[in-house]
């Protein structure tokens, strides 16, 4: 009888694979069904946004940075605006801070809903996707209401917001929050004690606390592994220290723990949203009073010469930012994010670098899938919530 011959097999997964969340390519070496080695290849979505921003004026950068991490547009533009405002040395009004907190938290819920839906679908729970996208639609409607654009509102501007909140904003957000609490329970009914889901996720894709620290996974992945770090608590910004909320952490570090952390985060975000909504008056200041930075309201542009000149100067030349560099960390849906902004004192950025939590998560992917089964690779990629637009920029 001839001797049984075994060998490893190399499998290319991606770049076009429905579960790689964009164009991530994994070269896997398999021994049977066990993954022996994995090397992620990225760069397929590299669009050179960081180089493009160097040609733009400061306000023109905002639509570009929103398209980096396309599931957390409001968070991106908020992080960018805060870094520029830090360099300008301006302090934004209290009402704007509260609105930014509210919009950032709604964006977190939005991003987590997309994550939960796609992740659920990948491990076989297709109905979760339909449920999550139903509620996400309401959030996109709120974006459309404030800015006329659903995915990339460009509503945050350096110095505040683009315009005041529309009529009916409070009612829309409140009705979403009232509806969403029950819906979140529905999602949990579908997954949290679902035997199939537990079997697919518990003990899968484990990353230890030490590895989470070593790979700088500052965000939900690290919190699921027991690293108690949230920028909102440790380095508060926009008055987060005055809000009452908790930072959920788990210690298991597996796919299921990441699921638990993100669902708990959505509940905490709802708490913050309610507190912020109570503080926001329906009308009031929406930007700083600085004629160099804030464009005048449209009705004045049409009636006053000075306002027209100011409008023309702001939209043709922009404003200058003092030389220096700033990096203001904020807690995005995927973890600490922020923009290293370098200025040479002109009206265009010298360099802008985005801290991409997805890039670091992608780097740590190898750590999580080697030694596991090939079928679990899908569950792990889903659980780290990578957005390839953020990885490649």
């Amino acid at each position: 009888m001839p001797e049984l011959r075994t060998e490893t097999m190399t499998v290319n997964m991606g770049p076009q694979h429905p579960s790689t969340h964009g164009v991530l390519r994994l070269v896997l070496t398999l021994d049977g069904e066990t993954v022996c080695s994995a090397s992620p290849t990225i760069g397929f979505l590299h669009t050179g946004i960081e180089k493009t921003t160097e040609q733009k004026k400061w306000q023109q950068v905002i639509p570009l940075v929103e398209r980096m991490d396309y599931l957390s547009a409001q968070s991106n533009s908020m992080a960018f605006c805060m870094s520029v405002e830090k360099l300008l040395g301006v302090e934004i009004p209290e009402r704007v801070k509260n609105i930014r907190v509210l919009l950032a938290e709604l964006q977190r819920i939005n991003s987590h809903l997309v994550w939960l839906g796609t992740h659920g679908m990948e491990v076989g729970a297709v109905s979760v996707m339909l449920y999550c996208f139903r509620e996400r639609e309401l959030l996109l409607n709120i974006n459309e209401m404030i800015a006329g654009f659903r995915l990339f509102p460009s509503y945050m501007r350096v110095g505040g917001l683009r315009e005041d909140l529309p009529r009916g904003f409070h009612e829309a957000v409140r009705s979403f929050l009232d509806r969403f609490a029950g819906k979140l329970d529905e999602y949990e009914d579908l997954l949290t004690r679902n035997e199939i889901y537990l079997k697919r996720t518990q003990g899968v894709g484990v990353i230890s606390k030490e590895d989470a620290v070593a790979y700088s996974l500052l965000g939900p992945i690290a919190r699921a592994a027991g690293v108690d770090y949230d920028v909102r608590k440790v380095f508060p910004y926009l008055g987060y220290e005055t809000y009452d909320f908790n930072v959920p952490t788990k210690t298991a570090g597996d796919v299921y723990a990441r699921y638990q952390v993100r669902v708990a985060e959505m509940r905490e975000s709802m708490k913050i949203c309610r507190q912020a909504l109570d503080r926001i008056t329906p009308t009031g200041k929406w930007a700083i009073d600085d004629p160099r930075i804030t464009p005048p309201p449209k009705d004045r542009v049409y009636t006053e010469m000075e306002a027209l000149i100011q409008h023309f100067l702001i939209y043709s030349q922009g404003f200058t930012v003092p030389a220096g560099e700033a990096y203001v960390p904020v807690e995005g849906p995927r973890g600490e994010q922020g923009f290293s902004v370098f200025s040479d004192g002109t009206n265009r950025p010298w360099r802008i670098k985005s801290r991409a939590p997805s890039l670091l998560a992608c780097q740590a992917l190898e750590r999580m899938i080697v030694g596991g089964l090939i079928a679990d690779v899908i569950a792990v990629i889903g659980s780290i919530d990578v957005v390839m637009g953020d990885v490649d920029r």
Binding site: I42, G43, H46, G48, E50, K51, Q55, S83, K86, L87, G89, V213, A214, Y215, S216, L218, V227, D228, Y229, V234, F235, G324, E325, A326, Y327, V328, P329, E336, G338, S340, F342, W350, R351, K353, R355, L359, L360, C362, Q363, D392, R393
Partner: protein
């Protein structure tokens, strides 16, 4: 802990290194470190019990062309234990853009250094995997350098026509005709 106390502590932990403080606009204490002592200072930052900068939050570079020293490598560090943030910068000359890798101290630096090499052409000595990260492997130049053009206009790639003489052309036709008839 304020900036000067941090600096004194760090100088004590890494006695050989040249460390100078720099002004900053945000929460990060900013220091400049001489190129030859990056690894020593990085290890001191991570391991000194009063500092414990366990996280490398960000590693990037900036090109100050045409000034010299042309490049600055920027490391943003976080210490959760002591709630500290630090920005460590290293000045690099354009003709000699080398700096030692810190990926043995913070494994997260692996891809971040690859990205900086890819986009700026700064070499990280001793890097375990020195390949391009985002750009195609056969890309020429380093796109985020300031002297790299924004819109590259290259002559279009043309494939030259096959050189065939008149006789060979006729012979080919004849051969083709004969084989088809059969």
């Amino acid at each position: 802990m304020d900036g000067s106390a941090l600096l004194a502590l760090l100088q004590q932990a890494a006695p050989g290194a040249t460390i100078e403080s720099a002004p900053t606009a945000d929460v990060h204490t900013t220091i400049y470190v001489s190129r030859d002592h990056v690894v020593e200072v990085a290890r001191a930052l991570r391991d000194t019990p009063e500092l414990r900068f366990a996280f490398l939050a960000e590693l990037t570079a900036v090109d100050l062309w045409p000034r010299e020293p042309r490049f600055e490598a920027v490391y943003v560090l976080v210490s959760i234990e002591h709630r500290l943030r630090l920005r460590m910068k290293v000045r690099l000359h354009g003709a000699d853009a080398h700096v030692a890798t810190v990926s043995s101290i913070w494994p997260a630096a692996n891809w971040l250094e690859r990205e900086v090499w890819d986009l700026f052409g700064i070499v990280f000595d001793g890097h375990p995997d020195p390949r391009r990260l985002l750009m195609p492997e056969d890309w020429e130049g380093f796109p985020l350098r300031k002297d790299s053009p924004v819109q590259i206009r290259r002559p279009p790639h043309v494939t030259e026509a096959l050189q065939v003489t008149q006789e060979e052309f006729a012979a080919n036709l004849e051969h083709d005709r004969l084989t088809r008839r059969r």
